[in-house]
């Protein structure tokens, strides 16, 4: 009976075990995650290499070779896995973590092999900022080849898709039985599809056409086919990489980008309902109202208090607000005067992020609503300690475990920010920059602004500082829990190994 749960890796590692059926959920989940990660970066590298054939194609051979190798290893891993009938929640999360790690390492090899960066740790950093849609890049767009621009842009696009699948399709469904979702209630997940597969399929049905629409829109404004493609994949994934030059000087491009960012920060459940013309429930959606209110209030605050009542400033204010709340972080600023409160505002809305079930990072609007209602409930409970009240959103009561998860997520989010902040402040950054960098990394948002609103140059930071930001980016990108679950499993594994070694030692000694 014990044999049935042994994985094939154990068969390979330990002699004595011969034929075994399905892999254990844990091993299968992780191996599948790793294979998907390798396949993902491999396919992107091959497509980028092929895309580069139209131009100078200086880095096409490296992209094709590494892409093929990565794809082959990924395919091999995929072929040897014999998944069990059902994966555990923790193992699915573990799979996502392994996907990110393998994809990052494989992409870093691409960055390093194509001489886009000097050191491998910088290559890892670049791969991380690309996949996690953070865009705190050290690379100057004008200095890298078009195929590499396409490669990192596509990584962002894929990273956005992974977040969507994890946030809008995996977490609500796998958590529905005894554990409610972290971000979205079960009934909302069902709006995207009754099963996990149908939810993922429906996400693709929105994500791909949206990217295409934005591409066409950007191309029509005169941005160019290639630059338009880069901008569209960056906008829809809330990535933040921009092509060379400043495409946002054009009014139409800036408006389209701002609208695209607003849409990307919106829950895909909302977009799906809009696509199906089921707008009835959307009218009563508190989250949607709060999201657009925050965008509007932030944009108006930037516009009014910058004392420049021009159309350009209004446009750029809306753009900066959308960019911050969707955690895209396109490098553009307002045309009026930048005052310190704007930095706080941008930092705050970046930390909050967009709606739950969207591509954007951050803490998300839904969690904010839950927290505010929890605060109010706690105050009422002080007056009426025995009162029983449920937190409601859109008239539906939330289960206590969902509220719990929201609070835990907040606690973990703040903890990640705090630890990262301490780390980077010890290495080099001043306190404000450290807080700013930690929040932006955890929220997977783009370039940082100094107190005076100027964009911070990340390339001047030391390598240890950048390395310290990478875990925060991965944690923020995967909504923290998957990484911690893997860490928990790893600790349990180490503990059990240690115990078995200890037992063996005791047995050996007693035999002696």
């Amino acid at each position: 009976m014990k044999f049935a749960y042994r994985s094939r890796l154990q068969v390979l590692t330990f002699s004595g075990y011969q034929q075994l059926p399905d892999w254990a959920s844990w091993t299968s989940g992780l191996t599948l995650g790793a294979s998907f990660g390798l396949l993902l970066s491999g396919i992107i590298a091959i497509v980028s290499g092929v895309a580069g054939l139209h131009g100078a194609a200086s880095q096409t051979p490296e992209l094709l070779i590494i892409g093929t190798l990565s794809g082959l290893i990924g395919s091999f891993l995929f072929s040897i896995v014999r998944p069990p009938p059902k994966h555990r929640t923790a193992d699915i999360f573990g799979g996502f973590f392994f996907l990110s790690i393998f994809s990052i390492v494989s992409s870093a090899i691409v960055f390093y092999a194509t001489d886009s960066v000097e050191h491998f740790d910088t290559a890892l950093y670049e791969a991380t900022v690309s996949l996690t849609t953070t865009a705190l890049s050290t690379l100057n767009t004008s200095q890298i080849t078009p195929e590499m621009q396409f490669f990192r842009g596509s990584l962002q696009w894929a990273g956005g898709l992974v977040v969507l699948i994890l946030g809008a399709a995996i977490i609500p469904v796998v958590g529905s039985k005894s554990e409610p979702s972290i971000q979205i209630e079960r009934n909302e997940a069902l709006a995207l599809g009754n099963t996990r597969q149908s939810a993922i399929f429906n996400i693709l049905k929105i994500y791909i056409p949206l990217s295409f629409l934005l591409w066409v829109a950007f191309a029509l404004t005169g941005t160019g086919i290639f630059d338009g493609l880069l901008l569209s994949i960056s906008t829809v994934s809330t990535g933040g990489f921009v092509p060379a030059g400043n495409p946002f000087e054009d009014s139409a491009t800036q408006w389209i980008a701002a609208a695209g960012m607003c849409l990307s920060g919106t829950s895909f459940v909302v977009l799906w309902r809009l696509a199906l013309r089921k707008t009835g429930e959307l009218r009563n959606s508190a989250e949607l109202r709060v999201y657009f209110s925050v965008v509007a209030i932030s944009a108006l605050t930037l516009f009014i208090f910058s004392h420049d009542f021009t159309y350009e400033n209004f446009r750029s204010s809306f753009f900066v607000a959308s960019s911050a709340i969707s955690t895209t972080g396109f490098p553009a600023t307002i045309t009026g005067e930048w005052i310190p409160i704007f930095t706080v505002l941008v930092l705050l809305i970046t930390a909050i992020g967009g709606m739950a079930g969207s591509v954007s990072g951050g803490f998300n609007i839904r969690s904010l609503i839950v927290l505010i209602r929890l605060s109010v409930r706690e105050m009422v409970r002080q007056l009426h300690p025995r009162s029983v009240s449920r937190i409601q959103i859109d008239g539906k009561p939330l289960s206590e475990s969902t509220v719990d998860h929201t609070v835990v997520l907040q606690f973990l989010f703040v903890s990640v920010v705090v630890v990262t902040c301490i780390g980077v402040s010890i290495t080099e950054l001043d306190l404000f920059s450290a807080i700013n960098a930690a929040v932006h990394s955890t929220a997977t948002a783009g370039p940082l602004r100094s107190i005076d609103g100027a964009l911070t140059e990340v390339s001047v930071w030391t390598r240890p500082t950048r390395s310290l930001l990478m875990p925060a980016m991965i944690l923020g990108w995967l909504a923290i829990f998957p990484v911690l679950i893997v860490a928990g499993e790893f600790v349990s594994f180490l503990k059990s190994k240690f115990r078995s070694v200890k037992r063996t030692v005791i047995e050996v000694r007693s035999n002696e």
Binding site: R88, T89, A90, F93, K177, S178, E179, P340, I341, T343, V344, L345, L348, L371, I372, L374, S375, R377, E378, M379, R381, Q382, L383, H384, P385, E400, V403, D404, H405, V407, V408, Q410, F411, L412, V414, S415, V418, C421, I422, S425, I426, T427, L429, D430, L431, F432, A434, I435, I451, F481, L484, I485, G488, E489, S492
Partner: protein, 519 residues
């Protein structure tokens, strides 16, 4: 229905006034004692004496004309919040009468703001001060200085706890009052009678103050300074009689005694009480205390290592790091900086140690102590709760109770802690935004809001240990900080609910009247 309505209407102001009046009588007594101390400097005793008479008259009147009843939650919050508001407002009188903040360039409005800030900082045991190079502390009389120190001593353990000791008529409601004032999610009951519990707390507090005072005197501090610093060390307040705070003495022995004093002040008084009763040290069996000491040790070593790697000798680095970590971690806020940019001036340290200290501004000490902040216990519960959530993901059908030490934490307490942290976060963010709007830079604003809400004392940025809050913040910002200190002293809810509950009661009454008219 109408009779019930009359009862609820009449009970609230009576209880609040009765508790506040009794608190004012204690304040009056304290001012009276200080006015006689002022004689030793050959300074005028009238400011303190007149303030004492006013407080005595108003306090006496409030006490005599009212009587407390059995209190509901709303009345408890109203009474505790009201007592602090009254005491803080009337506590400005000695400063105003003595012209303490009447220096060149100040107008009467700023003078009142400064007096109110200093008074609230005193009674909430915060330790932020508007004294500075423009208005040195040393230039004022001994009586005023002693009064300033005593405000922290009184506020440290809690003025309402003191009131409960002389109000046996409150009976069980007294425990509610103590709970509303005591730091931490739950208050300890040391004796079967509430009055005895309050007295036990004061006894421990008094003995602790005495021990610290004797220690400081033996270490070389003058008698008055030793007494003054003992009062604010036990209270984890941080007011000093010198502009340079503890840096004035530059004496390692004094600093060691203060470190021990601050640690004891910042740890649970219930543990001290058990130590005296059981004649053994139960502290290290307490999970919260272990975490509290562990965090201090870790932070002090890390900061010392960073400071020494920046060129400071390791011994000096460890001394500065330990003192400042303990001073901020226990919410005392003393400084051992001998001047701007000296080794003890943490505002001049590298950003890494400052970031660690910023975290300690949030942490605070143990529950049931005189310290402020979120409290180690709440952070432990938060961390354990997070850990449980992760374990539940791994084993969805498992039952994982949250353990604190050997005790299982109830789900309701976990929810209360979660609620508290949520409200705390909302307040810190709001405070930072308000202070930034009032022209404060973001680091000074954020650390100021955290420091005021946690009753810590100094902040970071412009409001470092050698700076005056009068220089770092504008007058409106200081008022905002003062309000935050009051909210933080009573652990957020009482002060907020004191404002909200009358609104709720009025709303309820209007609804009842409307219903009656309609019927």
């Amino acid at each position: 229905m109408s009779r019930f309505h009359f009862k609820t209407m009449s009970k609230r102001p009576h209880t609040t006034l009765h508790v506040a009046g009794t608190a004012l009588l204690f304040v009056s007594l304290m001012m009276l004692v200080c006015s006689f101390v002022e004689l030793s400097d050959n300074k005028s005793i009238y400011p303190l004496l007149v303030a004492s008479i006013i407080c005595g008259l108003i306090g006496g009147l409030a006490r005599l004309t009212t009587k407390p009843g059995t209190l509901g939650q709303a009345e408890i919050f109203s009474a505790v919040g009201g007592a602090y508001l009254f005491v803080s407002l009337f506590g400005t009188l000695p400063y105003l009468f003595a012209g303490t903040f009447d220096y060149g360039g100040s107008n009467s409005l700023i003078e009142f703001t400064d007096a109110l800030f200093e008074s609230i900082s005193g009674y909430t045991a915060t330790g932020s001060t508007v004294f500075g190079s423009h208005n040195p502390i040393e230039s004022h009389g001994t009586g005023i200085l002693l009064y300033r120190q005593l405000t922290q001593w009184l506020g440290g353990l809690g003025i309402v706890v003191l009131v409960v000791t002389v109000l046996p008529s409150l009976r069980a409601s007294g425990l509610g009052l103590i709970s509303a004032e005591a730091p931490g999610p739950e208050s300890d009951r040391l004796a079967s009678r509430v009055v005895d519990t309050a007295r036990e707390f004061w006894k421990i507090y008094f003995v602790l103050t005495l021990l610290i005072g004797v220690g400081l005197f033996a270490a070389g501090m003058g008698g008055f300074d030793a007494l003054a610093h003992a009062l604010t060390t036990a209270a984890t307040g941080g007011f000093s009689t010198r502009s340079a705070s503890i840096g004035f003495w530059d004496n390692p022995t004094i600093e060691i005694i203060l470190i021990i004093g601050m640690i004891l002040g910042g740890s649970s008084f219930a543990l001290h009480w058990r130590a005296t009763k059981e004649r053994r040290v139960p502290h290290f069996k307490d999970s919260e205390f272990r975490a509290y000491i562990g965090l201090f040790t870790l932070a002090a070593v890390v900061i010392a290592w960073i400071l020494s790697s920046n060129g400071l000798g390791f011994g000096q680095a460890l001394r500065s790091a330990t003192f400042n970590v303990v001073a901020l971690g226990t919410s005392s806020g003393f400084s051992n900086a001998t001047g701007d940019g000296s080794s003890g001036d943490f505002a001049a340290w590298a950003s890494g140690p400052q970031a660690i200290l910023f975290i300690f501004l949030i942490f605070g000490g143990c529950t049931g102590s005189t310290s402020g902040g979120v409290k180690i216990f709440r952070l432990q519960v938060g961390a354990l709760h997070a850990l449980r959530s992760i374990r539940k993901f791994r084993r969805p059908r498992g039952i994982f109770p949250v353990f604190h030490g050997s005790k299982v934490i109830s789900e309701s307490l976990v929810q209360r802690v979660a609620g508290f942290i949520a409200v705390y976060a909302v307040l810190v963010i709001s405070g930072t935004i308000i202070l930034t709007i009032l022209d404060t830079d973001i680091v000074t604003a954020a650390s100021g809001a955290v420091s005021a809400l946690g009753n810590m004392g100094p902040a970071l940025g412009e409001a470092g240990p050698t700076s005056s809050f009068a220089d770092a913040y504008s007058a409106p910002s200081r008022l905002v900080l003062a309000i935050f200190m009051l909210i933080g002293r009573l652990e957020i809810f009482p002060m907020l609910l004191m404002v909200i509950s009358p609104y709720r009661v009025t709303k309820k009454q209007i609804r009842q009247i409307r219903k009656k008219n309609y019927s």
